[in-house]
């Protein structure tokens, strides 16, 4: 977690104090929905050797209970300048709007990749640089400081990663956590992101966490580190500000669009990453 994000988490304490004097109320506002929709591109690819996917969907009205109508019949291609990888739409009904490619994960090299999505006579593009990622030495779990203080009725645990950071500057990392082979940090605001500006040469840092109702004794906890661009690092931070801190009068940001690297008005993000994983078997401490 970068410094500012942590800072804002601290400041969000202020809302606790403001709550002494204020209340929160759900409200449905009369929003002027813009005509038409935006293409939303979800393209986070890695070199983990698995089949890679890209999801295309449409934006929707704010209050509409929609996960974004899938976008079918698009031409989705990624090029490294020499090779072009075509993504094919799934034929499974429940996976409409998902486009797959099995080769690209094995073909990533340290270069620039360009995504091109053609749909309804519109062409949307984005670029992403594939960068290496350090290997995790180990993952450890410790009882959270909050739990030691007796906050709440359930215990929280901090997940630490330990790794050698690259000497070169300008690296950014994203962390995911899997428990029982299920991704627990699927949402952008649940993931942890770090900039090497705030890291020591050897990193031993708490980046993620869980509570005792999410992970049980003997569960395997896998932590994944991905290389990401500075733009993607900003994307995740701003996603956090615009969602988790939305409306916080003291720590939030004025409403604004989350940035994207997609062209021509499309939303979402295209990122190619190196990835490395390590795991630990969780042992609940004895009282």
């Amino acid at each position: 977690m970068n410094l500012q994000k942590k800072l804002l988490r601290w400041f969000s304490f202020l809302i606790v104090f403001a709550a002494f004097l204020s209340c929160e109320k759900d409200v449905v506002l009369d929003l002027a929905d813009k005509e038409g929709t935006f293409l939303v591109v979800e393209a986070n690819l890695t070199n983990d050797g698995r089949k890679q996917w890209i999801r295309l969907s449409e934006s929707s009205s704010y209050y509409e209970r929609s996960f974004g109508d899938p976008v079918s019949d698009a031409l989705v291609e990624i090029s490294d300048g020499q090779n072009t990888f075509t993504f094919t739409e799934s034929q499974v009904d429940t996976l409409t709007g998902y486009y797959y490619n099995e080769q690209i994960s094995h073909a990533f090299t340290q270069t620039i990749y360009q995504l091109e999505v053609s749909h309804n006579e519109n062409v949307y593009t984005a670029q992403s640089e594939f960068r290496p990622v350090p290997s995790l030495d180990s993952v450890t779990v410790e009882l959270s400081f909050f739990s030691q203080l007796g906050f709440g009725e359930i215990d929280f645990y901090d997940v630490y990663v330990h790794f050698d950071e690259f000497e070169e500057e300008g690296d950014h990392y994203l962390f995911n956590m899997y428990v029982r082979d299920t991704l627990k940090t699927s949402r952008p605001n649940q993931k942890a992101v770090l900039s090497d500006e705030t890291l020591q040469d050897y990193v031993s840092l708490s980046v993620l966490g869980f509570n005792e109702e999410e992970v049980f004794d003997g569960d395997k906890v896998v932590v994944e580190i991905r290389s990401i661009s500075e733009e993607n690092f900003n994307f995740h931070n701003i996603f956090f500000f615009q969602t988790d801190l939305s409306g916080n009068p003291f720590a939030g940001a004025p409403p604004a669009n989350i940035p994207t690297n997609m062209s021509d008005g499309a939303k979402g993000f295209f990122q190619v990453s190196s990835v490395h994983r390590d795991s630990i078997i969780f042992k609940k401490p004895q009282d």
Binding site: F17, L21, L29, A32, Y62, G150
Partner: protein
């Protein structure tokens, strides 16, 4: 002339007959609100073209023939008064002069109202005395100067539970808030719920929205000049109050009877004291309180010299166990030497000091965090006032301010991460001002004008750091190179001429036309990080990247009194043009960012509006009705695709109604109602679904409005009869108030996020101050 110095004192005094047909009229002239004697007040008999001026003790004396006379009492910054007398013997006529707007304590010797609303050359200003402010229903029973100011036309509240205010399309940081001439940089307590001004220590408040005198500079949109009370020079007095939120105690009295006095006033909240009773250890260790202390002394050295020394010290303390601590507060000091060269020429030499600081620290698990920020302001100024004739006044002065803005270093230490220190850019600067203002009444006071000029300078001095930005991408500036400023060396220089002018044409005794123009220049501004002004929003100065902000304002007004001046009305229209106004880019990173200038863009702005005011300042039933129609827009390259957009404080309609009714001598009823179009805001036009989460899509900045704001407050004050025991006079009163009587949920801020209790459902919600909130306060004095 300095208003506080000019605190005029009119005495109407005893008269000694000098001849069989001539008698002496004498008296003392005092400020109606402060009781301070006023020096240099013109006393003039137009028919005889004869006059005099009050002396250093506020006394005047004039010999007139027996018979009926009309006397005119006038003084800069005060309401001109006329008195008709039938002089048949020596006579004492003490005069109490009002220093502006809304009046309130009717202690005039005659029951006749003056037509100051019509005859005063000033416009776009309002004066409130503290007794008026106390009659308006208060939030949680805490009488608040700034909340009362928000009821005035042309002044918009920053929101519920917020003492911040916007004047005629300006930002909150464009208001120059002065306490006995010293700048108050953050006028709020408890995250904006209350202002720092203890009502027991305040005498009067004057707000300039336009037509700002050249003696003031440094802010674009308004001057809020707050004067503290002067202690009583003759007797000791104690007053105080016990309320739901805080208790107050003020002691004043003579140091050397008749020559010097003191006033000390303090208050403290005590909500946190109740937390000590909690069973939860964390809550017991939680602190949430504020306190402040005001003091003022004055000393009459001799007939020609007086000294005033006043100050303020206040702190807010917020501490969540030992996990998180946040304290902030202001310190001000004002030392003023008032010197009378002769009856028509006097000066004020002032040394002023202001400090604002905050300290945030946290320790959560393996992470430590600390942020200390300071702001110092040293101000030396000299103001001179010369009254060459009854119809004219010349004032001039010079001012020099040293700004030391040290937003501090944010240091974070997290186990496993490198220690991070963010050195926020230090801004040191010298701000100078020199001004002159000339006011003249002509055509038998039918026409009056004032012309003035202020020349302001700003020098950026080291140490500090300057950044040059690569601005090729208008949406993202990158630091191209860095320049370290050497200590004491001057780097950038700015100079601006600020013309000011106002005029009044009296149509008849009941109506007049007024006009004013002023150019204001602002060299400091505040980086606002969230939807509400926060205590940790830092101030920064002009630099190689930030030009001084400039505002030109033109205002026209028609002023009309009715019913022998018992009812006053006015209509004002204004147009304001902003240059070099700044705003934050989309997702701008303002909080704790050493490259804050790279997150700002500069452009133009404009605001215009019309203000309608109807008020009955006196009588058993008194009050005001105000309505403002206004527009405020900006056009800034790099924001909103360079297209014009509404300023955050754009508000089309703003209506306020407040009144007071003396039902009986013991019972007073107060009422206040406000309605305003919702604040400009950016609402979503849709949403995306990405990696299992929703995020809103926004379109044009500030194109939408929050829900309309309206609120009704009521209060009842019961004042029992005065009790006397052992020659001590004891008076008390009970104030019962209800804030937000019908429980309107007025949004403070709006959140767009997934419903916490129903995952997958997009939601919007807002924070609001619940209502109704009853309160009771017991006040006393003896």
């Amino acid at each position: 002339m300095k208003k506080s110095i000019l605190v005029l004192l009119f005495f109407i005094g005893a008269v000694n007959i000098t001849t069989a047909q001539e008698y002496t009229l004498e008296g003392t002239i005092k400020d109606e609100n402060t009781g301070e004697t006023l020096v240099g007040v013109n006393v003039f008999v137009p028919k005889l073209e004869k006059g005099t001026v009050s002396d250093l003790n506020g006394k005047y004396e004039i010999t007139l023939e027996e018979g009926q006379h009309t006397l005119v009492y006038s003084f800069v910054g005060y309401q001109r008064q006329e008195r008709k007398i039938d002089l048949t013997s020596n006579m004492v006529l003490n005069i109490w002069m009002e220093n502006g707007g809304l009046r309130l304590n009717e202690v005039l010797i005659t029951g006749e109202r003056t037509n100051r609303n019509v005859e005063n050359t000033e416009m776009s200003s309002v004066t409130l005395d503290i007794e008026t402010i106390k009659r308006i229903p208060a939030f949680l029973g805490e009488v608040d100067v700034l909340r009362t100011i928000q009821l005035m036309t042309g002044v918009q509240s920053a929101g519920d539970g917020n003492t911040g205010f916007f004047v005629r399309g300006g930002n909150a940081d464009q208001n120059l808030v002065l306490l006995d001439d010293a700048v108050v940089f953050n006028a709020s307590h408890l995250f904006n719920f209350f202002s720092v001004f203890n009502p027991d220590a305040i005498n009067d408040v004057k707000l300039y929205k336009g037509g700002i005198l050249p003696e003031y500079g440094g802010r674009l949109s308004s001057v809020l000049d707050i004067n503290m009370k002067t202690g009583d020079k003759d007797q000791y007095k104690v007053n105080g109050g016990i309320g739901l939120i805080s208790s107050r105690l003020t002691v004043e009295g003579p140091v050397q009877r008749g020559k010097s006095s003191f006033l000390v006033s303090g208050r403290r909240t005590y909500a946190d004291l109740f937390l000590k009773l909690s069973r939860d250890e964390t809550q017991r260790e939680t602190q949430l309180y504020f306190y402040d202390l005001n003091w003022k002394t004055n000393y009459v050295i001799n007939d020609k010299n007086r000294l005033f020394f006043s100050g303020y010290f206040g702190r807010d303390v917020t501490m969540l166990s030992d996990l998180f601590g946040f304290d902030w507060g202001n310190t001000t000091m004002s030392l003023r030497w008032n010197h009378l060269f002769n009856e028509n020429f006097f000066s004020d030499i002032s040394f002023l000091y202001s400090n604002y600081q905050f300290n945030i620290s946290g320790e959560i698990g393996p992470a430590d965090f600390q942020w200390k920020s300071f702001l110092h302001n040293l101000n030396l100024k000299a103001d001179f006032n010369w009254l060459p004739a009854e119809e004219s006044t010349l004032s001039f002065g010079i001012q020099s301010i040293y700004h030391n803005l040290d937003p501090g270093t944010i240091s974070a230490s997290i186990e496993g991460a490198a220690d991070t220190n963010i050195d926020l850019t230090i801004n040191n600067g010298l701000e100078h001002g020199i001004y002159v203002n000339y006011q003249q009444d002509i055509f038998d006071n039918r026409f009056s004008f004032a012309v003035g000029l202020r020349n302001s300078f700003y020098q950026v001095i080291g140490p500090g750091t300057q950044y040059n930005y690569n601005q090729d991408d208008p949406l993202q500036w990158e630091v191209a190179d860095t320049l370290e400023l050497n200590r004491g060396e001057i780097y950038d220089r700015f100079m601006n001429l600020e013309p000011r002018a106002s005029m009044r044409f009296t149509i008849n005794e009941e109506s007049s036309l007024k006009a004013s123009y002023n150019r204001m220049v602002q060299y400091l501004q505040q980086a606002q990080s969230a939807q509400s002004v926060a205590p940790y929003d830092v101030w920064f100065a002009v630099s190689n990247n930030i030009e001084p902000q400039i505002a030109d304002q033109l205002a026209l007004g028609y002023f009309r009194n009715f019913n022998d001046n018992m009812i006053e009305s006015s209509v004002e229209i204004y147009y304001k043009d902003f240059k070099n106004i700044t705003d934050v880019i989309d997702n701008g990173d303002i909080l704790g960012n050493e490259f804050v200038e790279g997150e700002l863009r500069t452009g133009t702005g404009w605001a215009y509006g019309a203000e309608f005011l109807l008020q009955k300042p006196t009588g058993r039933i008194n009050g005001l009705f105000g309505y403002t129609w206004s527009v405020a827009k900006r056009k800034i390259p790099g924001i909103n695709q360079g297209d014009p957009y509404f300023a955050p404080n754009d508000r089309r309609h703003d209506l306020s109604l407040s009144g007071s009714y003396d039902y009986t001598p013991k019972w007073n009823i107060g009422i206040s109602f406000v309605y305003a179009t919702g604040r400009a805001f950016t609402l979503p036009i849709g949403k995306i679904y990405y990696q299992g989460a929703f995020a809103p899509i926004y379109d044009v900045r500030n194109a939408n409005r929050m829900p309309d704001y309206h609120r009704l407050d009521l209060s009842v004050t019961y004042t029992p009869e005065i009790r006397r025991r052992d020659n001590i006079r004891f008076q008390s009163s009970w104030n019962f108030s209800v804030f937000n009587v019908y429980g309107r949920a007025n949004p403070i801020s709006i959140s767009f996020a997934e419903n916490e209790t129903r995952p997958g459902v997009p939601n919007s919600s807002y924070f609001y101050i619940p209502g109704p909130i009853p309160a009771v306060t017991w006040n006393f004095n003896f």
